[in-house]
Symmetry: C2
Subunit: 269 residues, 2 copies
């Protein structure tokens, strides 16, 4: 008996900020065959909303602090506006999407990050038990397509802001116990780039040793580091395939097995 | 074989505006036995958000016009902030809630209201086919508790603002084909009042003839008229019981069959 396959696709914030690109991505996503899950980040709307409402955004080391007002806006924008509009567009394309935060069906339960050394505020970190696979399987078994935003909960009434890349990785790892999982990080670039200015400088395959080498040389930019770390963790923990590709490449990759982009391998150089 | 019972409870906006009252209501709701669905309105947060963002609110005959910016805020506040915080609080109380807009799982498909005689903007009206009972039954059969906000979709990619009282009524009517349905409109008053200033002037039972009489005499206030019309429609179309009660009375009513408030009857005077 072959294991069932599932595609878990994370879409980046820069794609969400461009309505035409997002619409095309969602049309493509609707056509991806088989079981699938979408995870989305935030984009710039939350920052714009905060500015409009004159809520100051505190940053430490380039990371936003999620104070109570910022969490409120994140919940409105991610779980409300972005998530529901994506679901409505997917429904239009015949994809039976269901939008979820981690509180819904207790899908993703996280732990508030410790306040030392830096208090990041209402940020939830994933644990090995965060993902409620039983609930997700109920949806998948009924031909529903989960669409997760990056808001989770602590099961004690508190919503928490959580990194969307990490949610996608945890979903992939947890579901890999029962499924053959493809984890796809899709965003506005063609893959992991050697030269950020040249979209064609993507690395077709990257293993952990090569990653460490590039990291040491300072070739991989700061935003890509945690994404790649998530990718290698996923491979280590049983996810079948991990790709980092442009948002317009998911259909070629998943339905035609042909693409340009970066594949994560766990082989040695 | 006796038909399964389900309680559909709509909670009004004034309750949502008071965090302590809302928290107590949700604690009570979590303890309601058996199958249940929660439907919630909006409250004043959307208006406050619109003011904060300097988005003018257009009103005609006391009704808000849902232009594109107003719909955006309604989606953020109703489907995002209010819905997800309610779900998180219910999860804390051991109630396996799942927050939904009408787009999720294509749960509620509405039709954009005609622009004549008045263009109310992005408002969706319910039809007899609006409710996707098959989807809702999947959730109920898996011990999930649907929590609906008042945002629906047209299945063509457009989200629409929809009256929460009417959503509750349509859910009740559609589910009454398979279930014994109790529909409960819970809000900040003890029931349908003869004298709005006196909370103890509630009418214990009201039938359609009495309703028409009170309406003719101008005793029933404007806000109550559509709620009562929804209530009588529900009874006519097969809903077993309809109550209009204070938000702190749901546990006595549903678990102890004892309450103060208004019961809708379809008998003649």
């Amino acid at each position: 008996m072959s294991t069932k396959q599932i595609n878990i696709i994370k879409i980046g914030g820069n794609v969400i900020d461009n309505p035409d690109t997002l619409a095309q991505f969602l049309t493509d996503f609707a056509q991806v065959k088989g079981l699938k899950i979408l995870v989305h980040g935030g984009g710039k709307l939350a920052t714009k909303m905060a500015e409009g409402l004159h809520i100051p955004q505190q940053m430490i080391d380039g990371k936003r602090i999620t104070d109570a007002e910022t969490l409120k806006i994140a919940t409105m924008v991610y779980a409300g506006y972005i998530n529901k509009n994506m679901v409505a567009q997917l429904q239009k394309s015949g994809c039976n999407a269901i939008g979820l935060s981690g509180a819904d069906g207790n899908a993703i339960q996280t732990v508030k990050r410790p306040t030392e050394p830096i208090d990041f505020g209402f940020v939830g970190d994933m644990t090995e038990k965060s993902i409620n696979t039983e609930f997700i399987e109920i949806l998948l078994n009924n031909a529903l397509v989960p669409v997760f935003c990056a808001i989770t909960h602590d099961a004690n009434g508190q919503l928490l802001n959580t990194n969307a890349d990490t949610i996608a990785q945890s979903l992939a790892v947890s579901l890999s116990e029962k499924y053959d999982v493809n984890l796809i990080y899709s965003f506005e670039k063609k893959g992991v780039l050697i030269n950020l200015e040249d979209d064609n400088s993507f690395i077709p395959e990257i293993n952990y040793d090569y990653f460490l080498e590039l990291k040491e040389k300072g070739i991989i930019n700061k935003g890509m580091l945690p994404k790649l770390q998530n990718a290698f963790t996923a491979i280590e923990k049983g996810v079948r395939n991990v790709f980092i590709i442009k948002e317009d490449a998911i259909l070629s990759l998943l339905n035609k097995n042909s693409y340009e982009g970066t594949r994560i391998t766990n082989g040695t150089t």
